[in-house]
């Protein structure tokens, strides 16, 4: 056993790395966070069907665009994880920059959407719809922002030349899990909060 290997976390009974396991547990817990937020929204939506008419406000084109961008950022994230595993640092950095850029576009769309909605009269204090909508999508936005901060830190760290495939691939993979999860949550929100409103 090399000196390096003896610094590992030790054996893993489940054959899953500790960092990966704790991220999966966090994501499980996070499901409950978003579950509570989305349920609150749907409960009030059912309780007060006529309180607010979101179809007039929602721009399906804009939100579809930002959803597509977020999906594509997940694609780039997968590419950067793969590049890191192969030790291709240049490709890794290029793809991470792409993820960050797409994430920022998504956040930009959300900021635009929020200001636009507020301008049109939907405030956090507008009935229950404003409350549930902004807290739910805002929490998702904060998740995206934390992800971007995380990836930017990783990008800087990779510039220091200390990032190595055998050591840090797992860190990138864990960040990737988080990013994909945030993406999946958005697909759920996009479906049950935006798209459903346009049915019937």
């Amino acid at each position: 056993m090399s000196q390096e290997a003896s610094h590992d976390d030790g054996h893993h009974n489940l054959m899953v790395n500790n960092k990966k396991l704790i991220m999966w547990l966090f994501l499980g817990s996070d499901c409950m966070f978003f579950g509570t937020l989305i349920s609150t929204h749907l409960i009030y939506r059912k309780l007060y069907p006529n309180e607010f008419e979101p179809t007039q406000l929602f721009s399906l084109e804009l939100t579809s665009f930002s959803t597509f961008i977020l999906l594509m950022s997940s694609f780039l994230m997968a590419l950067s994880v793969s590049a890191m595993h192969k030790g291709q640092m240049k490709s890794f950095r290029r793809n991470v920059v792409g993820v960050i850029f797409f994430g920022l576009i998504f956040l930009g769309c959300q900021v635009y959407e929020f200001t636009h909605f507020a301008h049109e009269g939907l405030l956090v204090s507008t009935g229950t719809f404003g409350s549930t909508f902004y807290l739910m999508t805002g929490t998702h936005g904060v998740h995206v922002a934390i992800g971007i901060f995380w990836l930017i830190s990783m990008l800087f760290y990779s510039q220091s030349g200390k990032m190595e495939a055998h050591k840090n691939a797992i860190d990138v993979e864990v960040a990737g899990l988080y990013w994909h999860f945030v993406d999946i949550v958005w697909i759920v929100i996009f479906t049950v909060v935006y798209l459903i409103e346009f049915i019937a």
Binding site: N13, V16, N18, L21, I22, M32
Partner: protein, 662 residues
């Protein structure tokens, strides 16, 4: 405790001392390892044993705080139309009594046992993420400070050193006063002041502490078991830790979001629970109890784990029906998510929902009863030794059953409609909380403290503690059943004479003082144990599980060689079993890798204090409070960033025992 720190080098050979040098982090930070300064050593520690001891000490302190609050409540109620404390103060006392006992006493006492015991019971060096463990401890401290901050303001105001002026004038409710479950709309801005904000932020921070600790324990138990320690060989206490941790990570999000919604209602004027804007106060009740009912099992399952360790040891028998005890614990945890509405039978859920929740609640009695029968089965035919831990464990089985019986009465919705919000409910959950959980925790303290500090109990004070607590709790809470059935409502500041409540209330108050004295004697006994000269030895109780295989107190690395487990009750099998089931030892030629200590968990957690206080005071209209919140957020980000950059670090140890054997 300072002797333990200087212990470390003495366990090493001189030639290995150079191995103690910690790795340097990427940004050249030196880690605070092997500090001669006691304060630095404990503040930066990542050792699960020290963290456990700190959890335990702080939790015992808050147990006394909550206990004093309870005694003031009982004194106020001793006679009719008493005016010892004002109605407002009374509300603050029962709110903080509940909050303190649940979040600051019992949960961290359980966490103290989790921390100290789980790595030892599974033969690991430490938890999976030692720094996250330290972060959980210090976040708990931050949350406790924020939630109790109102007492400080109130005291300052009482002594004339501080007066609320400007927008905060007239809001003399700095201490939470809306009950520990904070029902809407009492928590809205119209009715309560800064106290509610401290409560919201404090609970939020405590939630961070609990959830992060739980992630850590799940990973530790699933991934760090010693070779051969299969899941169905785990000690039951470790099993219950795993189940409780899973409950925490899935139950706490509900209250985290509910608290966030409440905070938004108060700070930003949203309408989640405000009736004027269309909000439904009942939503709070659902969200709260979706968390709140699993929380009940979060409190009691570790107690069941403790008792499942103590009873077999002092009966000299293996636990009767190990797998069914474990499985029952899992079923209790699972069903715990499906019964929250039994707290809300009187809110008008409709017949179907009420019947369903009633049925599921009754169903929980089945796995609980299975456990009780298994404990009795363990005693049956055993060589029972009535030593201190056993006395309290037996007390647990009996008293917890009493609480369970009244619990089954509540599960019937029509009966519950009569008992709702009466002293009958108080009697029920105090039998569970004190007769059940507290007795089990005392049993755990008597069982494991010799392991934790390496000193053995002396004298017979433990008998007095047992008599005082068991007798005291029965005198206090048994009459409350009658009070409840006579119609005395809970949370009333005082009452008129002539309802037939006077005698019962006086008896309850006398009982509470006996119980209080019992807990005080426990603290005296613990202090005496710390000053005891009698060494505990590795295995003072002739016990069964792995933690008794190592020294008392365990060395920083826990086991000189990682044990290889070949049986369920690993140490018992090693002592009395056939050759094939004895403990093995793993050869670690390269020494033991220990994680480095760190300041970062402490710094990141301390950021929660300005964040929590800042957001609370901002709502109350204190100028510049928002900047404190931003400062807190920056501190947290700074701490976590440096934490990531410094890396786990570490150094190597070559314990003398291991080297000599080799």
């Amino acid at each position: 405790m300072s002797t333990k720190i200087t212990d470390i080098p003495s366990t090493l050979q001189q030639s290995d001392l150079n191995q103690l040098k910690p790795e340097k982090s990427d940004i050249g930070l030196t880690r605070p390892d092997h500090s001669k300064n006691v304060f630095i050593d404990w503040l930066t520690t990542v050792d699960h044993k020290k963290i456990g001891l700190m959890y335990g000490t702080l939790a015992l302190f808050f147990l006394l705080v909550g206990g004093v609050e309870a005694l003031v409540i009982r004194t106020q109620l001793a006679v009719p139309e008493n005016n010892l404390v004002s109605a407002q103060m009374y509300n603050q006392l029962f709110t903080m009594h509940g909050t303190t006992m649940i979040f600051l006493a019992i949960m961290p006492l359980n966490a103290a046992f989790f921390n100290f015991l789980v790595p030892l019971q599974i033969g690991a060096r430490d938890v999976a993420f030692p720094r996250i463990n330290a972060f959980s401890l210090w976040s708990f401290v931050a949350g406790a400070l924020v939630i109790n901050f109102g007492w400080l303001l109130q005291a300052l105001e009482a002594f004339g050193l501080f007066s609320a002026s400007g927008p905060t004038a007239g809001m003399n409710d700095f201490v939470p006063a809306m009950g520990w479950f904070g029902y809407a709309p009492l928590t809205s801005k119209e009715f309560t002041g800064a106290g509610t904000d401290f409560w919201i932020m404090g609970l939020q921070i405590l939630g961070v502490a609990s959830i992060s600790a739980s992630f850590n324990f799940i990973v530790t138990i699933i991934n760090m078991r010693a070779p051969g320690l299969k899941m169905m060989r785990l000690p039951v206490f470790t099993w219950m830790t795993l189940i409780v941790s899973l409950l925490i990570i899935f139950a706490f999000p509900a209250i985290t979001i509910a608290l966030a919604q409440l905070m938004f209602d108060r700070v930003f004027g949203t309408n989640f629970f405000s009736v004027a804007g269309g909000g439904q106060p009942i939503l709070w009740q659902h969200l709260f109890w979706i968390f709140g009912h699993p929380e009940v099992y979060i409190l009691v399952l570790p107690a069941m784990g403790i008792v499942s360790e103590v009873l077999p040891t002092f009966s000299k028998k293996p636990l009767f029906g190990y797998s069914i005890v474990v499985f029952s614990g899992a079923v209790i945890g699972f069903l715990g998510f499906a019964v929250w509405s039994h707290h809300m039978f009187t809110t008008g859920l409709g017949k179907i929902a009420t019947a369903a929740f009633s049925l599921l609640t009754m169903a929980i009695a089945v796995p609980t009863g299975v456990k009780i029968f298994n404990w009795v089965g363990t005693l049956w035919g055993g060589r029972v030794r009535f030593q201190a831990p056993m006395i309290f464990a037996l007390g647990f089985v009996w008293m917890f059953m009493m609480g369970g019986f009244s619990g089954i009465m509540h599960s019937s919705a029509p009966a519950d409609a009569q008992q709702q919000d009466s002293y009958f409910v108080i009697a029920h959950f105090h039998y569970v909380a004190i007769g059940g959980i507290l007795l089990a925790i005392i049993s755990g303290i008597y069982y494991w403290l010799p392991k934790m500090i390496g000193k053995m109990w002396q004298g017979n004070l433990n008998l007095w503690v047992a008599v005082m607590t068991v007798v005291g709790l029965n005198i206090t809470f048994f009459p409350m059943h009658f009070l409840g059935l006579l119609g005395m409502p809970r949370r009333y500041h005082t009452y008129l004479s002539g309802f037939g409540w006077e005698t019962y209330n006086m008896v309850c108050t006398i009982g509470s003082y006996i119980l209080g004295l019992g807990v005080a004697l426990l603290v005296v006994d613990i202090i005496l144990c710390f000053r005891s000269k009698k060494p505990a030895g590795n295995d003072p109780w002739d016990a069964r599980t792995l933690e008794w295989a190592t020294s008392s107190p365990p060395k920083v690395y826990n086991f000189a060689k990682t044990p290889i487990v070949n049986a369920r009750d690993a140490l018992w099998a090693d002592k009395y079993g056939p050759e094939s089931r004895k403990l093995g030892a793993m050869d670690e030629a390269h020494g033991i890798h220990m994680p480095s200590q760190s300041w970062m968990p402490l710094i990141a957690s301390l950021g929660f204090i300005p964040l929590g206080l800042g957001l609370s005071l901002m709502q109350a209209g204190v100028p510049y409070a928002g900047y404190a919140a931003i400062f807190g957020l920056v501190t947290i980000t700074f701490g976590i960033s440096l934490w990531a950059i410094e890396g786990p670090g570490g150094y190597h140890l070559h314990p003398k025992e291991a080297v000599e054997e080799a």
